[in-house]
């Protein structure tokens, strides 16, 4: 998931739709994010490229809406409801996710296993019978 500055970013993404859960008067999604262009990318344990300043999922609460929707720890969030998440600060990302008037967030997330799966299917490794 490294990018070359100036070139468009390409990634294999998965669409995840999470319904916000109302709990104690707050709308929560049930996961934690880390990263951002104002953060230190070297301390991100989930990124392959340690210069990647994207938003990553660091934790999902068990039984929460995010886990139910299929979000996994280590996913990189590329878009939230159409808003780009690859070049945002940590606080901007948080704000896009926690808008009070939205009940559902549609995320585009990418992970290494997706890339691998696509590569494998494109790679003609077994000879066709």
């Amino acid at each position: 998931m490294s990018f070359i500055p100036g070139q468009p970013v390409t990634a294999v993404v998965e669409r995840i739709e999470i319904q916000k859960l109302r709990q104690d008067g707050n709308l929560i999604l049930g996961f934690s994010i880390g990263g951002g262009i104002d953060q230190d990318p070297g301390q991100n344990p989930f990124s392959e490229d340690k210069t990647d300043k994207g938003i990553y999922v660091t934790r999902t609460s068990p039984g929460g809406p995010a886990e139910a929707a299929g979000l996994k720890v280590g996913d990189k969030i590329m878009q939230v409801n159409g808003w780009d998440m690859t070049m945002v600060t940590h606080d901007q990302a948080r704000k896009k996710l926690t808008k009070k008037n939205e009940d559902v967030v549609r995320l585009l997330v990418t992970r290494k296993s997706l890339e691998d799966a696509v590569k494998k299917s494109m790679n003609p490794c077994y000879p066709r019978p």
Partner: protein, 628 residues
Amino acid sequence: MRERLTAAAAADPLTTRRKLGGILHISETKVNVVSEAALWGSCQSWIPEACLYSNPFLLLSTAANLPTLTRDSHSSAQSPGLSSVGMDTESTHSGYSYHSSRSGRSNRHGDRSRERHKASSSKDSSRSERSVVINPPDTPSQDSPVHNGEPLPGEPTPAADHGDEAQDDNWGETTTAVTGTSELSVSQEEVVGLGKEIQDRTHNFRRYLPLAVGICVGLLVLATPLVFLLLPTVMWSDRLQACGAACEGLFLSISFKLLILLVAIWALFLRPGRACLPRVCVYRAFLITLTLLLTMSYWLFYGVRILDAQDEDYHGIVQFAVSLVDSQLFVHYLAVVLLELRHLHPCYSVCVIRSTDGETCHYNIGQLSIQRAALSILEYYYRDFPLHNPALLSASKHRAAKHLAGLKVYNVDAPGSTAAAQPSNGNQSRPMVTPAGKRKDNAHNELYYEEADYERRVRKRRARLVVAVEEAFTHVRRMKKEDENSTPSDIMDVREAALAIFPSMARALQKYLRTTRRQHCHSMESIQKHLAFCLVNNMSPKAFLEAYLAPGPTLQYGPERWMADQWTLVSEASVTSGIKEGTEFLLRCLDFSLAVTVKGIPYIRLTEEYIDPKSHKFLLLLQSETSV
């Protein structure tokens, strides 16, 4: 007071012992109970006044020179500037006789309001409980019946009425001798007194010898060029060729150079020395020899080439004289470098430890001979080390004595001894375990509780003292403009003001000093003087008290405590050799010594690293995790 007189009069054996010239051991407790009048009246005649110099003149002797006389406290009756006070008194007691010498002038007999100093440097703790009184020697109101300082209540013998003391001069004279030594109980024979006289003469001789030699050599050096110039004009003036402006220029240069040489010689060699060292300084001897050699060789050449040949070229003769003055100036330059500059550059670090209480200090000194290093260390000692107080060491000695008393000593080699002999241990004694063992178990307990108790007592007294002093200071303030019209009886000068507020704090101060065993360092006169000084300079009570709460450097106290003539340098290496890494020597004073070890300052290798100022860039390292 009568009981004191009888007690003192009963000490008749003292008189006989005094006639033999012996210093009595301080454990003769009665002798401290002495009446001031007789004491001071009799001492006036023979206790020399201490001459006050700005710095103590240090008299340093090597151990080889003075085997038994190092503890001579009366050696310097003639040498000025030394702080010895009289024949048999050690420095710790000289506060007593210092008073007496000064108060002998004032009319002290029959003074009622007096307090006496406690015997200083007492080894016995029992002595600290006895009552003592401080002397006010020069009080203006000494003839008035008003008591200057109230007698301390709670003392067993209040000092209330001194009116009818007998003026027995004989009796006073015999008892002054016992004003006390510190831990030393050395008896002095009269032979020592004889030896002292000879030593005094040699001291004076040695002190002024460098000055005499310097003057002689200086005169020789200054006169030689002038003689070189004058002799031709005197002896064969008719045949001399006159030389014009060049010679006049040379005359000018000679005169100015001689003037500078005169001042320089005076500055370097002829000023009064600040100390008397045991051996001659090697560099000075070398420089004097060099100068004399130079001058003699010039005389030789002059005699052969000019006097014998009767040279007519006066210009040449003048140039000859100028070259002599130049060489002498260069020798003086060498002298400046050798004597003054060499020891300014620090290359050794010395560690000085006082033997009795372990006070340690470190100093950096340059390349010096051992005796000069000892001299500068002593000057640092007078500045940095707190006053030596033998009274504080008595506790550990008691413990050691008790420990030894609990040991039973067996002589293993005694015939018929049934104790098991260890063949390797020769004559060593072995302690018996059982009774001493139990006592040893309690020694540290005792020490712990004793120290805790002492701390508490000191803090209590200190608190009372601070409060008393603060209250005393509130009673007096500086006069302002509008007070000028107030009652004139209230307006006092600073001395009267100090005397007026002193009594309210005297008792608390006295008790505090006695608890910390420093009461012998401060006389009432000095306390009042200090109080007046603080009032004049608008100091706070805390500033006034600082002088008494902690022991200051030795120079702060009177000259009787300096003992500047009692130092002995004990060294294995020759004292004129230079100090090196690992040199050790000892500076011994009367009852303590300073152990000095020398280490070199390490060779420091410093390397350089260049940092471009634009390379200072920073990143923000935040890593926060937000749950959404």
